[in-house]
Symmetry: C2
Subunit: 493 residues, 2 copies
């Protein structure tokens, strides 16, 4: 009795049948009344708790209905034998609860989990790559598009096509041909939750444990992480100013190669046509798949976009990956892939197993923005803005560091690489710490080199990947000033 009352006192809500039911249930499961023990009569419990008898009766009826107690007319309710009785079940309960064992995939992830830092932990001026400025988001156009999608009334709300909404895929087909010279049928397009899901789809459909995959070195860590999670092993191939050194592919046997030909991440090189052919020839010879991540091709500041591998190859061995994470928002989780015709059904089936399909309203909204041209005009606007940010960053780096900074990969995209050749590798950690203490977030490129090649491939200098798309020009100015101060400080040490 006392137990019930104290249990109830703990509760913030008022006493009702539901609350009484829950407390009695918890106490029964906690063996408060022992095996087949007797509960208070509804009258006495009602008196104890100062509630009407009918309230208690409701609770008892629910407990009886769920098999917790047995109620016989005239007698006091008893804990049902089945609930806690029997030596077997007691013996089982005596066992400690072990941790559920993980699959091989789970063990690999636990051993080497991908990183993620909460936005709250960000410094005042953050040069982290990949973030966008909320000021650039086309709030009005998107609002219009999403409301149209939400208010639209289909015949019934049902699961849609795993490959993506036909309307969006049709709009994307035109967009890809118009803007990237990628020719494909609507069937080849698969809408995914950001290019990350595209990478995971490729990993699961193309790699088995023990297989090998080619990675650019330095390269995109999340891609390497995703492919490695299958148990496959990366084969790092060095990158120079022109991107992947395709000559080094000869003799490498791998199931797939991950590349960023239009703007190598992170070094920023554009893969020349001859290397593109060399890469494709390598893939054809080995029936390997080339995953072309066209993550930021919308941003080019001097030359026109280079035709993607997909356009050259006809896409027999090429999976083309695109995303709106760099043009609309990384939080929207919409990307698209163009897959070889022979793999269309496999990709659709895998997407269905993974999450049925990408949320429909977003797909409809993006489709209408592509159809109306709102997406194109948005692109023109953000391209201008990012060109300004880029110019500001180039000017400020020049002003603060003169010839002591060497810039790479600034011709395209939303980041550049700043090399400080007179700063030895070993000063990197101190620089990051000092900069952070001044409120600047900087990200050394060293983390993106394959660990096994660290030191060898990498120049003995500090290189920073500087993303600018989330910063306003005055922040970029401030950031460079503080970075200069940080560099001076560690030089004095």
């Amino acid at each position: 009795m006392g137990q019930i009352k104290s249990a109830l006192r703990r509760q913030t809500e008022g006493i009702g049948a539901r609350r009484i039911y829950e407390d009695l249930r918890d106490q029964i499961l906690a063996r408060t009344y022992g095996t087949h023990g007797v509960l208070p009569s509804s009258r006495s419990l009602a008196g104890e708790l100062g509630v009407s008898r009918s309230t208690v009766t409701v609770a008892y009826e629910q407990l009886a209905a769920e098999g917790f107690i047995e109620v016989r007319h005239g007698a006091r309710p008893r804990v049902a034998k089945s609930v806690v009785g029997g030596s077997k079940s007691r013996a089982v309960d005596a066992l400690p609860t072990h941790v559920v064992p993980l699959s091989e995939f789970g063990k690999r992830l636990r051993k080497d989990p991908p990183k993620w830092t909460a936005p709250s932990g960000h410094p005042a001026v953050n040069f982290r790559y990949g973030d966008l400025s909320p000021a650039d988001f086309p709030v009005l156009a998107w609002k219009k598009a999403i409301i149209a999608a939400v208010t639209r009334r289909p015949a019934r709300l049902a699961y849609d096509d795993p490959s993506g909404a036909l309307r969006l895929r049709t709009a994307l087909q035109g967009f890809l041909w118009r803007s990237r010279s990628v020719r494909c049928s609507v069937d080849q397009i698969v809408v995914v939750n950001g290019s990350q899901q595209g990478l995971d789809l490729c990993a699961r459909l193309l790699l088995d444990a023990g297989d090998r995959f080619v990675m650019e070195d330095p390269g995109y860590l999340m891609a390497s992480h995703t492919f490695s999670s299958t148990g496959a092993a990366p084969v790092p191939v060095p990158v120079d100013r022109d991107g992947l050194q395709t000559a080094r592919l000869a003799g490498i046997d791998a199931r797939l190669a991950y590349v960023t030909p239009s703007h190598q991440y992170p070094l920023g090189g554009v893969l020349p046509i001859a290397r593109r052919h060399e890469l494709l020839a390598w893939a054809r010879q080995r029936d390997a798949c080339v995953i072309e991540d066209d993550y930021d091709s919308e941003y080019r500041y001097d030359t026109k976009p280079v035709p993607p591998l997909h356009a050259l190859e006809g896409g027999h061995n090429v999976v083309y990956l695109g995303t709106v994470s760099k043009t609309l928002s990384p939080t929207m989780r919409i990307g698209y892939m163009v897959v070889p015709l022979a793999l269309v059904s496999a990709f659709a089936a895998a997407k269905q197993i993974m999450d049925r399909h990408t949320p429909l309203a977003e797909q409809e909204a993006l489709a209408s923005m592509l159809e109306s041209g709102a997406y194109d005009s948005h692109m023109r606007r953000v391209r201008r803005r990012n060109a300004e940010r880029r110019q500001t960053l180039l000017d400020m780096l020049r002003r603060r560091f003169g010839d002591r900074v060497r810039i790479e990969g600034a011709a395209a995209g939303l980041h550049l690489v700043a090399w400080f050749d007179d700063l030895p590798q070993r000063s990197e950690e101190a620089l990051v710490r000092t900069a952070r203490s001044k409120g600047v977030g900087i990200y050394p490129i060293s983390a993106l080199f394959d660990r096994r090649r660290q030191g060898r491939a990498r120049p003995d200098a500090v290189g920073l990947i500087m993303g600018y798309s989330a910063l306003e020009t005055r922040q970029i100015d401030k950031g460079c000033r503080l970075l200069a101060a940080a560099i001076d400080e560690i030089r004095e040490q």
Copy 2:
């Protein structure tokens, strides 16, 4: 020359540098000019095409910039050696393009892909389970919530928490305790793209090829499909009116068990407390994981909700799965899971690898609906509507078929099972075809029995899973009338 002009005539757009550039590029890649072949001078090509010489020059400059052609002052442009030259590359091109080989996962999916039928293929009255009526969607409330989410301005647009937005997980924690007696910490909640992604996460993190998993028989095919895609094998355990026959678990060794205790899919039984304890004891003994799919517990028409396994167990070996696919829309792709504390980091890492996180705007919108109580009042409304639909279906089945129909599982959820005991199994196909010809979509339960147990476990009668949540009452009326006509027709045969 002629080739260029005909190529250009094919184009709908006017002749510009871009178009000339593209056609020349395609022709170069198609070996039109042969290895290191000579192109027309800009003057003569301009004349041929009737465009200004500068237009052609721009196209040539772009081709040169991309390494397609070599331009020497005074001389006519030549196809760059690197593009098509060299016997090696020709030899490579001679190779046929093979199909990229699939992983074991891919092969399994290709062999036995999940089904999906385009909405266009649906009959007038469709009793398919899982679809909802657009009339039930809370357009105004959702519009309000999604607009607030879209217009919200964070510091920067950046990837969010892989486990889900903190605001939504906090709202869900309260919701789960309030409505389902599930007590958990916010850390244990993972927001997923519909329960399907939750199933896939469990499959990948808990199963390896060669493992075994327990499935209800008959049961939810997509779950079995998802777990099987890892190479694990199902162990079908028969279901009766009270759900899974847990007594049959003794001696079964498996890594996980998938169950629908609050409303067994498809038979509709509610798992009694004693069986729940038996199931949990089995899981504890084997360190197996119980996946509790609470897919439609919001809909109960007579009794109160039974406490989930998670509430009984404290969730040590239980993964709890919930979704808004049955309350808001299956196209929204939002679900949530409550995972054991020991597995929180593994689930977060896997979710990040799979797609970074669930789209943020939807998460924010759902959170605000949960906070404001708009979700609860929406639930009350749709619960009423579906209670009406259910009653209409029960009445109509009774009126059309009297005692010749036996109803199961109508106490909860959005479907019931109608058994026609005087119709032998073999008449099933004919009935489906005839009903379809009359404009009624019906779905036999036989498809949901484990193939290896077909015939044995199943009564020799036609049983239909009848979903009603997408139908208005007059459609339900019409559907039953047409179904009766179809049954009469096949009886006469």
